[in-house]
């Protein structure tokens, strides 16, 4: 008579916490989340063709999106309802990843059987968790921008790719004195009639911002009649659909000055597409208010000594782009070479060779070089996690392979 095993014995009922733990740490949830993540990745890959990368990523993987509705308009034969392609909801990518992180921690680290056979898997799960955390840190805390410097010129600021800010500055001796900045995350939500007052203790007035548009241009009413938009000084902001290349978006908003006595100034338009800032006089003092992409200061100055664009002979196929720069910090100068695959990493910032110009420059013409500048606290974390994952998977794979070879050999010798 066979001995009863544990599974044959009556099991005590599970409590709700245990049930939740089993569910959250289970293979079933892992499988479903992986499939959902695969679907989201696939849809996002196809959707970026028509909608551009940045808007697609915002739709699929932003933390504000709890669910997404994939767009099937690229499939001609897909059924439509009321002219719109039929769709279905999927969980947002950010939250799917977050749940996967929970699942992996509970299932792949806590619940997993601990033993020599599973040590590889345990290490690999640790590595993946670390990688997801690195992705989260980079997503929330990294900064990216670019710096264009001409040969012989210097720069110590980078311009953000996407973030539009409002800058208020007092003009003293023809130059902006102290520049006060309203960050993008404070104004991006001011759509559909919402407004916000920004108080500046250093200024004799406050600024009210409203009617933020992600991509727009100021248009004269004489040029084109407004379709219900707010008109200011015979101009209004005409909204445009988001550019496929989101860097090309030009944001805009309406603003007005609020005096300390409670009176309100006339509204004015701030637009990223404008060439000049709005100028206002306050008594004898002159101020400018501008909307532009955020500038961030570098802890050192960069001078471009020489830019060298090399092409494979007889072609326009790029072979090497090399920027010879001097890094100037506290009066000390250090020569550095930045080129493709050889960035400069210094003080938590990384300078990459991104682009150059002018296109089709003639020999002897002064060139400029464009650097992509990144500050990412998790810069090297994916690399470290790769070492961990690879080691873990290698251990698992070799263990399995060893077992397979031993079993096969034993079976063959038994057959013989």
């Amino acid at each position: 008579m066979p001995r009863p095993t544990n599974s044959d014995l009556p099991q005590p009922p599970k409590g709700p916490l245990r049930t939740a733990f089993d569910f959250l740490s289970g293979f079933g949830l892992a499988t479903i989340l992986l499939l959902i993540l695969g679907l989201l990745t696939w849809f996002a890959t196809l959707e970026q063709i028509d909608h551009g990368l940045y808007p697609t990523l915002r739709k699929y993987f932003d933390w504000r999106e709890w669910y997404v509705l994939p767009d099937f308009s690229w499939l001609d034969w897909w059924p439509k309802i009321g002219g719109n392609p039929l769709t279905f909801p999927l969980p947002g990518g950010y939250w799917t990843c977050a749940l996967l992180l929970v699942n992996m921690t509970l299932g792949g680290v806590i619940r997993i059987r601990k033993g020599w056979k599973s040590v590889g898997n345990l290490i690999a799960h640790f590595g993946i968790i670390f990688m997801l955390v690195a992705g989260g840190v980079a997503h929330h805390y990294s900064e990216r921008g670019n710096m264009a410097v001409g040969e012989g010129a210097e720069s110590n600021v980078a311009e953000d790719y996407f973030e539009y800010v409002v800058e208020v500055a007092e003009i003293v001796d023809g130059k902006p004195d102290k520049v006060l900045v309203i960050r993008g995350d404070r104004i991006e939500g001011l759509t559909d009639g919402a407004s916000r007052v920004f108080r500046f203790p250093d200024l004799p007035f406050d600024v009210e911002v409203a009617g933020y548009l992600e991509n727009c241009v100021p248009v004269s009413v004489n040029e084109r009649a407004p379709a219900g938009e707010r008109v200011v000084d015979d101009f209004y902001l005409m909204e445009k659909p988001g550019e496929k290349n989101a860097e090309a978006n030009t944001a805009g908003c309406y603003a007005r000055v609020l005096e300390r006595d409670g009176s309100k100034g006339d509204p004015f338009i701030l637009a990223g597409a404008s060439f000049h800032p709005f100028t206002l006089k306050h008594g004898d003092r002159v101020f400018t208010v501008d909307m532009r992409k955020r500038l961030w200061a570098m802890p050192f100055t960069v001078r471009l000594d020489e830019f060298d664009a090399r092409f494979h002979p007889g072609t326009m196929k790029p072979a090497k782009f090399i920027s010879h720069i001097t890094r100037i910090e506290d009066g000390h100068e250090a020569p550095v070479v930045i080129q493709m695959n050889e960035p400069m990493r210094y003080e938590g910032l990384t300078f990459f060779q991104a682009s150059y110009g002018p296109p089709g420059a003639m020999p002897g013409q002064k060139m400029y070089s464009v650097f992509e500048i990144v500050r990412n606290p998790a810069d090297k974390w994916p690399e470290y996690s790769l070492y961990i994952v690879s080691f873990g998977m290698l251990v698992t794979f070799l263990t399995k392979l060893g077992g397979f070879v031993v079993t096969s050999t034993r079976k063959r010798s038994n057959h013989a």
Partner: protein, 661 residues
């Protein structure tokens, strides 16, 4: 002993397999056979082997590197003719097979014979109708002379269609634009040595009704300083000798014919840089911009000499060709630029991949025989034969890839063509390793079949693309370290994924047709092999993807850019992870694992090929044609999947009361 149903199934499978191989063989034959009837080229005499060998290794700078003329000619011929060889007949009806070098030599120095050769492959007779040329059939090959009547119309139509976005053009418009480009390239070859053949007319030199005499361009080039002096005087109000003006105009005109393509003249003094074609060299001497004018004139003199020989003077032609080659090689070697020219010429001469294809084809046939014969001694003999042919095919692939690495001075995978031949080799190698571990003659039989299919894909892609895939890489890819560890790892991941999918396809057919009989061991072995390959796919894809992210972070400052190629690799990782987790959780048993594994082929194909068609991202190759083949492949794999589901349901129904395994 196999049961009777297994025997019947085996016969059915054999018939189907033989039909498939026969279909494939016929397709290959049709694709590689010249279209249309054999063309007679009056007065044609074949080049001697000696001349061709000399010409093959003439260095030329093209696509950013120095390569042998045979490579340049091969891809030019592939682009225009759709094949690397051409058959014609001479006056006596004897068949002559033209190599790319022979074809190019004809175009360069025997243009009157060349224009009779069926150089242009036209796949749609509507193209000919559009330009007013009488078509011979739907698909055929035409000579320059055949198309001459429609040349003007062809130019007009191409000018109309060229501005239309490639994706928006219809196939006929695209073919018209392509044909015009090809015809223009061919015209530049025909006219390249026009300056040498015709020389310059000395206007007014003919006395008493005699025609004007002619002079060499090189002779006029020697007068360049005097012509420049006169030219400067004329610009300052002084007159210019009308004869000199006439000479200058003529030289510039003939030089114009040699200014497109074929840069065969290296810089002097061991300097690296852009090579010049004859036209540019003539222009630079005439404008006084050439610091080595005397040497350049000597180059032009040699060209004049060898381009004027008549067909009967091949020995003298060869002597002049050797002189020109010597001059070029001496300068190229001084700059260290021609070290792999001989090796590359021999690489294309050896035709490694054609040999590999033949070995894999024979291996496929012996594999079918092996499976049919079963585990008898004949089957054993066929298994060794299959192994031999498969190893021979693999050896050809490895030799070819190694030679390419030496020529390119970089790791084996740098473009899409490289991935195909690398995957062909690695899939075969993986299959043989699986066979070594499992010893069920199953992976062994799959190996030559996959090798054959992938080599055919490589050849089709090469013909369609007609580009030299040995050319150097763009700046951002110029990192042998990352090309080695990231690209090779990810490509090996594709190989492992494809192999697991095809092993599972075999499983589906074996069980679907009842060929597996009661052989539980074979089923288990296959399942374990597929599980192992999926683990390997995950390992390689995950590591390769993360390595790509690290490279991207190193080069561009971002670990992940949501580029379609990156996403494709991530999809493979997610899919294999989902399969393995579902397997561990008990959601996928034997059938489920194999069906999921079959779908892996779809995911791999999306990542490897489909994303290149999307037109976005850093890995966008700008493809506009060939997507139909991808959808056909998806349909085929989904067909296998559907058949598998059907077979699974049937097999479960046939075992009432038993839990499906």
């Amino acid at each position: 002993m196999p049961d009777s149903s297994s025997k019947v199934g085996r016969v059915i499978a054999l018939v189907l397999a033989v039909l498939a191989v026969a279909g494939l063989f016929s397709y290959l034959l049709i694709e590689n056979m010249p279209k249309g009837s054999l063309r007679t080229v009056p007065g044609y005499a074949a080049w001697s082997e000696e001349t061709l060998q000399l010409a093959e290794t003439l260095p030329i700078q093209d696509g950013g590197r120095v390569k042998p003329l045979s490579t340049y000619a091969g891809f030019a011929m592939l682009g225009m003719h759709g094949a690397r060889s051409m058959k014609i007949a001479d006056d006596k009806g004897a068949k002559i097979k033209l190599t790319p070098t022979a074809w190019m030599l004809d175009a360069l120095v025997r243009p009157m014979l060349a224009i009779e050769q069926p150089t242009f492959r036209i796949d749609n007779s509507k193209v000919l109708e559009a330009i007013g040329v009488e078509p011979r059939g739907r698909r055929d090959r035409y000579s320059y002379k055949d198309l001459e009547a429609g040349r003007e119309k062809l130019g007009e139509l191409a000018q109309t269609y060229a501005p239309i976005d490639a994706k928006e053009r219809d196939p006929v418009q695209t073919q018209i634009v392509d044909l015009e480009t090809n015809v223009r390239s061919y015209e530049s070859l025909l006219g390249y040595f026009a300056f040498a053949r015709n020389g310059i007319t000395l206007v007014g030199s003919g006395k008493e009704g005699q025609p004007d005499s002619r002079a060499n361009v090189s002779a006029v080039m020697m007068m360049a300083p005097e012509i420049q002096k006169q030219l400067q005087q004329s610009q300052h109000g002084g007159g210019m000798n009308p004869n000199l003006r006439g000479l200058l105009d003529q030289v510039l005109e003939v030089a114009n014919y040699s200014r497109a393509g074929l840069p065969i003249l290296p810089p002097f003094g061991g300097e690296k840089g852009s090579w010049r074609n004859a036209g540019a060299a003539i222009m630079q001497v005439m404008s006084g911009e050439d610091a080595n004018a005397a040497e350049t004139i000597a180059d032009i003199e040699v060209m004049e000499s060898f381009a004027r020989h008549n067909p009967g003077e091949e020995a003298a032609f060869r002597t002049d060709l050797a002189t020109l080659r010597e001059r070029i090689i001496t300068r190229a070697e001084a700059a260290g630029e021609s070290k792999h020219v001989e090796l590359e010429a021999s690489y294309f001469r050896r035709n490694w991949f054609l040999n590999a294809m033949v070995f894999f084809l024979v291996g496929t046939i012996t594999a079918l025989a092996m499976w049919t014969a079963g585990r008898h001694s004949l089957g054993q003999w066929f298994s060794w034969t299959t192994l031999g042919f498969t190893l021979a095919g693999l050896a050809c692939c490895v030799a070819a890839i190694t030679t390419r690495c030496i020529i390119m001075e970089r790791p084996p995978v740098g473009n899409l063509y490289d991935t195909i031949i690398f995957i062909a080799s690695s899939v075969v190698a993986f299959a043989l390793i699986v066979e070594w571990l499992v010893r069920r003659r199953f992976a062994l039989g799959i190996a030559p079949v996959l090798g054959l299919l992938l080599i055919i894909l490589a050849r089709r892609y090469e013909v369609g693309d007609a580009k030299d895939h040995l050319d150097p890489l763009v700046a951002v890819l110029d990192s042998n370290f990352w090309l080695t560890i990231h690209v090779i790892t990810i490509t090996l991941g594709y190989s492992a994924g494809l192999l697991s999918a095809f092993l599972s396809t075999g499983y589906v057919f074996l069980r679907g047709f009842g060929l597996i009989g009661g052989d539980q061991n074979l089923r288990r072995s296959l399942t374990r092999a597929v599980y192992g390959m999926l683990c390997l796919t995950l390992f390689l894809s995950l590591v390769g993807t993360v390595l790509g992210g690290i490279w991207a972070n190193y080069s561009w400052g971002r670990f992940w850019g949501w580029d379609p190629k990156e996403n494709g690799a991530l999809l493979i990782v997610l899919w294999t992870l989902a399969i393995l987790h579902a397997r561990l959780g008990g959601y996928l048993r034997e059938w489920g694992l194999h069906l999921a594994s079959v779908f892996t082929a779809v995911v791999v194909t999306f990542s490897w090929w489909h994303v290149n068609f999307l037109g976005v991202g850093l890995h966008n190759y700008g493809f506009t044609s060939g997507k139909g083949a991808i959808w056909a492949f998806y349909a085929a794999m989904l067909g296998v999947l559907g058949f598998g589901v059907f077979a699974m349901v049937l097999s479960r129904r046939s075992k009432p009361g038993r839990m499906p395994s």
